[in-house]
Structures are given as C-alpha cells and as structure tokens.
C-alpha cells in the first residue's frame, strides 16, 4: 500500500496534511500519534469511510480510491474498529454473516469460522450469542470477521484498549500468524511498549503531519513519545507519602445497578490512608463508573458501607460530601464532569458551590466569587482558554481535563476520587495532571485513581487493586509489580476471566 500526499481538512482543523507512507506486504506497521494527530482520519480514508481532499493511494501497484468500505473490502482491505459493531442478541455466525456481501448458509459459515479460528488460535463457538461473550471474545469475532475474507491489509484501531494483558498476548500471536501468511497489518495504538514488541515499522503523526518513520525495535518508548509530542517529556516523580491513618474505608459495599446495563458492585472492601494513592485498574465497563458514583454520592449506599475518617457517609447525598472534604472527578468530562454549552464560570460552580462556598445562605449564587474561583483554576493549572467566559466545548480535551481535575484539586480535598484522569489527553497534559495528583498526596490527601491505563497506575499509585465484573481483587503494593502481574490480578477477580487465562 502506497499513500501519497493525502490531505483532509475539517472546519477549523487540518486532520491530515500531505501524508505519505508505504506499508510493505507482510509487515506490521504501527501508526502512532496522540489524540487528534490524525490517525483515525487516515485509516478511515484507507477504509473508504472518508474521501480525502487531495492525494492518491495505490494498493498492490494499482490505483486505489475506495468510495465505501465494501469497495475497500473487495480489494482485501479490512478493519477492526475500537468500538465493536456487533448485535448482542445474534449468534457469532449470524453476526459475521451480517458483515458479508454474499453470506453463505449459516451452517457452512460456522464450519469456516471454526477452521479459521483454529488456524489462527482464536477459539470461539460460532453458535454462542454475542451478548454472552467477554470484550476480548467479542473482539475475536470482529477479527475473525475480517480474517474470513482473506485480508491483504488489516487495519486495527487501538485493539488492546479493551483487553487484559493476557488477552493482548493471544492477539499478538494471531497477528504474527497473519503476518507470516503475507498479509500487512496497520496497527494504531498509543501504547508504546506493545508497539516495540510487535511492530516492524512505525509511522508517527503529529498535528496531522507525518513527522517520521522509525524502527520501533531500535527506539525506546521515551524517544517515540517525544517524537509524538514534539518535545522532551518530563515523567512525574513519585515519592510515596503514605501514612498509617485511614482516611476512607469501604466495607461490604454492595450496590445493585440503576440501569439495565450497569454493573453490580459486589462486596467491595478497601481502605485508603492519608497521603496514599490507591490505583484501581481494570478494563472499562467492569464497574468503574458505578464505583465512582457510589463514592461521589451520585448513587447512595448503606450508611456504614463507606466511612470517611470514621464517619459513616454511605447514605450522604452528593452535595454534602464536599463539605467533609471528599471530592470526585468523573470520567466523562463533556456531559458529566462539565456541561458542554456552559461557560467555565458556570462549570466551576458545578462542584465548587458547596466546597468553595459560592452560595449565599439563601441559595443565591455569588457570581463574582465564582468567576475568581474559575480564574484561579485556569491560572494554577495552565488551562489554555480565551478566558473564563469560554464554553466548555470550546476547549481541547486536555485543557478541559486540566480544568475539571483542577476544579477539585484547588478545593484541597482530603479524599479525592478520580476516574480516568488522563483519558484522551495528550502526553504533556497527562504528565501535568499526574504530577498534580502526586503533589496533592504529598500534602496528605488520600486519592483513589481509577484508570484503564496500567502504566499510569504503576507510575503514580502506592497500592493497586483490580476491578472486574463489579468485584475487587486484594490490594497489592505497586512497587515491583509488572503489567503481567496486574493482568493476573484482574483475571483473578472474576470467574469469567479465569477461563480467559487458559487460552
């Protein structure tokens, strides 16, 4: 596959600027870059979902310009998306048939699926319904769907973001087998270690431009990260400040989900000490949001299941917890932690109203004080914005994240709960946020960091617990733990993943 001078502009941004790259047959080619670097746009162009403004592509030395995905598939180009497009109620075979242009009979297809899955070491039962499969197994269905069409180029968008470390290993083996058969793989990720492990070549995008191609085997994760962000990366310094005083205690916390697809939190037990950072690792959708909500007070639990400095607060509503020094920053910054169409001042009021005293005694809003509060956050956490009157959606992801985390940090919480603090944030902003969390812990606050990013947890957490299907593993000291160890912790918490591990 030869790509020359692809350009694609969107209102206000140039998503791809004059990008050229070559993918050799039989190689695993990594496409690296921060969020918004233009990776997704480029692969969508290759897969025929978007038309470029200018530029050409050649596939196997022939002119290649797919106008829709089915045209790309007929050339042998297939793609596995980060978000699955599967129907829960249908069986594996039926789902695969839906994605085919001329599906064979289900019975024949099932046999094909079985042979393909055996060939590539991807065990799956074609008769099982997709709703009963784990995220890793669902991804297998997506991959088999591609493999069955004998792809010459397979595009994978962040495939390991939904996998445990052990599931990821299985995936890598499959990719190796596919590569040996002569197929090319375009592999999108921002996890640098795994790219060093499996990729032959890496192309790095920054701000929509190709800033260089390298051999990941010869580079370190740090040098590649610096190519991605275009400057020297400062890694936060971790110095443990754990004390022996318990700040937050969770005992026998059990909470049924409020929505149909929520996760049931089952018998959670843990403590966080003053000055300690407790990491909660796990693949998303395993109860992280429910845990955040129960801790923030958005959903209430039994009185004695949560104790803050010995005081039971399980049934205390969300507005009362900041007064006791407990604050929360939820995962979704637009729409949960902040309101897209409200100004930063109004968004500052969202959690600052009780904690920062922005309300008068008869519930009138002190707007001038709120404005000062917002300006303080912008100032202290280096939020790049035209001013406090800008709406939240006008900010970039990283800057808004700095704002919503900063909003809680500036209130000097005694206990802080953060969910995915650096999700979708560029490396520099992520480093700043992690450093700010470490600084807060040094001041004696107890912090719970819920994250999918295991590297992040290893970097800043003193102790780690894994969450899976609403249950928690036993906590372990982070020091000396490897990513594999954490993978085992995750697998050990639920039966479902216990089976995974035997694969």
């Amino acid at each position: 596959m030869q790509i020359s001078a692809i350009t694609k502009t969107y209102p206000g941004v140039i998503a791809n600027k004059n990008i050229s790259l070559n993918i050799k047959s039989g190689e695993i080619h990594a496409l690296l870059g921060e969020n918004g670097a233009g990776k997704s746009t480029l692969v969508k162009i290759i897969y025929g979902l978007i038309k470029p403004d200018s530029g050409t592509m050649h596939f196997e030395s022939k002119f290649y310009a797919p106008n829709q995905p089915s045209a790309a598939r007929s050339h042998g180009v297939t793609m596995v998306f980060q978000h699955f497009s599967l129907f829960d109620a249908l069986s594996v075979a039926e789902n695969i048939a839906l994605g085919m242009d001329k599906p064979p009979r289900i019975k024949n297809l099932s046999n094909t699926i079985e042979s393909v899955s055996e060939e590539y070491g991807l065990p799956i039962d074609p008769r099982k319904s997709v709703g009963d499969l784990s995220a890793g197994e669902q991804q297998r269905v997506e991959i088999i769907r591609c493999l069955i069409q004998d792809p010459k180029l397979l595009i994978m968008d962040e495939p390991t973001s939904v996998l445990t470390p052990n599931e990821a290993k299985t995936l890598f083996k499959t990719l190796e087998k596919l590569k040996l058969k002569g197929a090319s793989i375009l592999y999108i990720s921002h996890k640098l270690e795994e790219i060093r492990l499996i990729c032959d070549t890496a192309t790095i995008l920054r701000g929509g431009e190709n800033v260089g191609t390298c051999d990941p085997q010869l580079e370190s994760a740090k040098t590649m990260a610096e190519m991605m962000i275009g400057r020297i990366l400062r890694v936060p310094k971790k110095k443990s400040s754990t004390t022996s005083e318990i700040a937050l205690e969770v005992r026998a916390l059990d909470r049924a989900p409020e929505t149909l697809f929520g996760t049931h939190l089952k018998n959670l037990n843990f403590t966080v000490n003053k000055g300690e950072i407790l990491g909660v690792g796990g693949v998303s959708g395993n109860g992280q949001d429910e845990l955040t909500n129960v801790l923030s007070g958005e959903s209430l639990s039994k009185k004695n299941s949560i104790k803050l400095f010995g005081k039971p607060i399980g049934n205390l509503p969300i507005n009362n917890r900041p007064l006791l020094g407990m604050l929360t920053a939820p995962e979704e910054r637009l729409g949960h932690a902040a309101v897209p169409d409200m100004t930063l001042i109004e968004n500052a009021f969202l959690t600052g109203k009780t904690g920062a005293g922005l309300l008068s005694s008869n519930d009138f809003i002190k707007w001038s004080k709120t404005k000062e509060f917002a300006e303080g956050i912008i100032d202290k956490f280096d939020v790049r914005t035209p001013g406090p009157h800008a709406t939240a959606r006008a900010l970039s992801g990283g800057n808004l994240q700095k704002f919503v985390i900063g909003r809680e940090l500036i209130q000097k919480p005694l206990v802080l709960v953060v969910n995915q603090p650096t999700w979708g944030v560029d490396a520099a902003a992520a480093a700043a946020i992690r450093q700010a969390l470490l600084d807060l812990a040094t001041l004696g606050a107890a912090i719970i960091v819920i994250s999918q990013d295991l590297d992040e947890l290893i970097e800043i957490a003193d102790r780690l617990i894994a969450i899976n299907a609403g249950s928690l593993s036993k906590p372990r000291l982070t020091k000396g733990l490897s990513v594999e160890d954490i993978g085992l912790m995750m697998a050990g918490t639920g039966e479902q993943w216990g089976q995974e591990i035997n694969v």
Binding site: P11, G12, K51, P52, D53, S54, S296, G297, E298, P317, I318, N319, P330, E332, G335, H336, A337, A338, V339, P340, D341, M342, E346, F349, L350, T351, K353, T354, L359, D363, F364, I365, W367, A390, T391, R393, A394
Partner: protein
C-alpha cells in the same frame, strides 16, 4: 454550494437579531401571501401592525385589547419557558388554564352573593392551585413511571375541555340563566370581578402579575441556584446528577410553576375579560404561549416583547379580517410564519454558512 459549520460558541449577535429578522421575513413573505390573495400587501400589513396602535379610529378599542391578550400569554409563557429550559415539556398549559379558571370561578361562585374583601384573593389562590394540580398529573406520571410528559399533558387538555363543558352545563350553570349554558357573569359580582384597574388601558390584575413575574423570573434564572439547576438539567442529565440536583424534584417544580401560572392566567381571564365559565371559554392561549415562549428565546424580557407582538398580530389580524375580509386562516398562516422564520434563523446562532468551491471535491 454551501455547507453549515457548527460554531464553537453560539453567536450572541445572531441570537438577539433573529427575532427582528423573523418579523421582517414574516412581513415580506406574509405580504406576498396577501398579494396572492388579491389584497394590497402594504395595506394589510399596515392594518395588522400599525392601525391597532396608532390609527385614531381603532386605537382606543385596540390598545387595551393588546394588554388583555398579552397578559395571559406572557403569564403562561413564563412558566412554560422555565420548564422548556430544563427540558421539561409541558404542552398542556391550555388544560391547566381551563382547570385554574374552573377552580377560581368555582370558589368565587360558592360565595355568591357575599361581598367580603377576601373572596378575590381566595379565588387567585384557588386558580393557581387548580392549574398546579392539573399539571401535577403529567409530572407525577413522569416521575413514577417515566411516561412522556408531552403526550400526557397534551391529552389532559382534551379532558379539561370536557370538564369545562360539563361545568358550564351542570355544576356551575347560572341558575338564573334561563337554562342557557354558562356560569353567572363574575363581572356583575363585585367581590369576584377582576376589572380594569385604570379605565381605558386594559390593565387588570393579571397584567400586573405578569409584569412582576418577569422580574422575578429574571432574578431566579440568573442569580439563584434553582435557575442554575434548571439550566443544567436542560443540557446534560449526568451533569445534573453530578451537580447534586434531583431530576424528579426539578420536573415537579417546573410543572408546578408552569401549571400554577397557567391556572392563574385562567382565573384572571374568567374573572375579568371573559367574565364567565362557558363552553367556549378557552381560546388557545395555552398553545399560543408556546410560540411566545420560543419567540422570546425563553428569556423574560424576550417573552414580554414576544407576548405584546403576538397580541398585536391577533388584534391586527382581527382588524384585517373585519376591514379587508382577509380569511382567518391567512392570519394563522401569518403567525405561523413568524415561528418558522424564528426557528430557521436559529440555525445561524449555532452554525455559520461556509461557501465551498463548485466542482471541487465534496
């Protein structure tokens, strides 16, 4: 070719300019419509917009009528706007208006012919309560069973209309009315009448109430926690909960306020300009108020202006029917255009138009 591009921030300029552009657009296209109907567009538009206010032949009658019509429209629209801001869609203000009138008139008539001072205040309370209770039906059904408040509140309008008919024919029928449907006329019952406060202006208690409420609503929406909660719940459910607002209570508050105000409007109408509960008591204020609320950008000052403008087109429209023989449907189409142009103009508040080169890639 051109395409729409979303603005990073809604444009303030467009937001305040749209109502004026909408009025201008309505005049132009309304004029074309009148022309096609064989009527001189200039005369028609002059009669609708100018004569009710400034033509000495009609102004004495028309000016007070504008306030009489604008009063209930504004009163109802303010309540609705609070709900609409919070994503709570009370479409049944017409029903709450009817029930408020029945409650208020019922209390007044129960005292007949007593002439104590407290009768009218009591009727005001009863009117608001009637609207409130009627609005609580869709509110509680939504909170308890998550029913669609648009459907339920709308359907309850038709129930209220049936109750109105039953009241005019039965319970509230004037015993001295010779068997005709309709209650006693409250205008002839001093203790219960809502009369013009200053002769020849059309100003009655309801208009006064509406003006006061505009100030109250402005303060509540901009300075008070409740206003913040209303705004936030109109934008994001998750953020609403995160801000510590109970969505169910907010639904009840929004329905309570809008229902209560619609009920008040009904009471002021039945005890004032209309005078009696009759089969055809309601004339659609509850529905027109929806247009007023949006025309006024859900903003108190905007609603004041929109209410007056809407009342003007009503009176002017009647005048045009009377003088030029314009069909009533043409007037309704004219009013509809106003909302149409307003909503169309809203596009420019949130989007800007970008020209793209012809023949280039799309």
């Amino acid at each position: 070719m051109f395409k729409l591009e979303k603005r990073l921030q809604p444009s303030q300029k467009w937001s305040s300019a749209t109502p004026f552009l909408a009025v201008a657009g309505t005049m132009v296209f309304g004029g074309i419509m009148f022309f096609l109907l064989g009527i001189d567009p200039y005369t028609a538009i002059r009669i609708i917009f100018w004569d009710p206010l400034f033509n000495p032949m009609y102004a004495d009658y028309a000016r007070p009528q504008i306030l009489i019509k604008a009063g209930p429209l504004i009163l109802i629209a303010i309540g609705l706007a609070i709900g609409f801001k919070a994503n709570v869609w009370n479409i049944g203000a017409e029903g709450q208006y009817i029930i408020g009138a029945i409650f208020g008139a019922g209390v007044g008539l129960a005292f007949y012919p007593n002439d104590a001072w407290y009768i009218f205040p009591l009727m005001v309370v009863a009117g608001a309560f009637g609207g409130f209770i009627w609005a609580m039906i869709p509110a509680l059904l939504k909170i308890k069973f998550n029913t669609n408040e648009i459907l339920v509140s709308l359907m309850l309008v038709y129930v209220a209309e049936k109750i109105l008919v039953s009241m005019s024919l039965g319970l509230l029928r004037n015993p001295e009315g010779g068997g005709f449907p309709g209650s006693r006329n409250l205008q002839y019952y001093d203790a219960a009448a809502n009369r013009e406060l200053i002769t020849g202006t059309g100003l009655h208690w309801g208009v006064l109430f509406a003006s006061g409420l505009i100030c109250l609503m402005y303060i509540m929406l901009n300075k008070h926690l409740l206003g913040y909660q209303i705004k936030i719940s109109g934008q994001s459910q998750k953020a609403t909960r995160f801000s510590g607002t109970n969505p169910s209570i907010l639904v009840a508050i929004c329905f309570g306020i809008s229902g209560g105000l619609a009920g008040l409007a009904g009471l002021f109408e039945v005890s004032g300009p209309s005078g009696q509960i009759s089969i055809d008591f309601n004339v659609g204020y509850g529905f027109t108020a929806i247009i007023v609320a949006f025309l006024g950008r859900l903003n108190p000052i905007g609603i004041l202006l929109a209410g007056l403008l809407m009342a003007l087109t009503y009176i002017g429209g009647e005048l045009a029917q009377f003088i030029l023989g314009l069909p009533a449907a043409a007037i309704q189409a004219f009013q509809g255009m106003l909302l149409f142009f307003l909503l169309a103009g809203d596009i420019f508040t949130n989007y800007k138009i970008k020209l793209t080169k012809k023949g280039g890639t799309t």
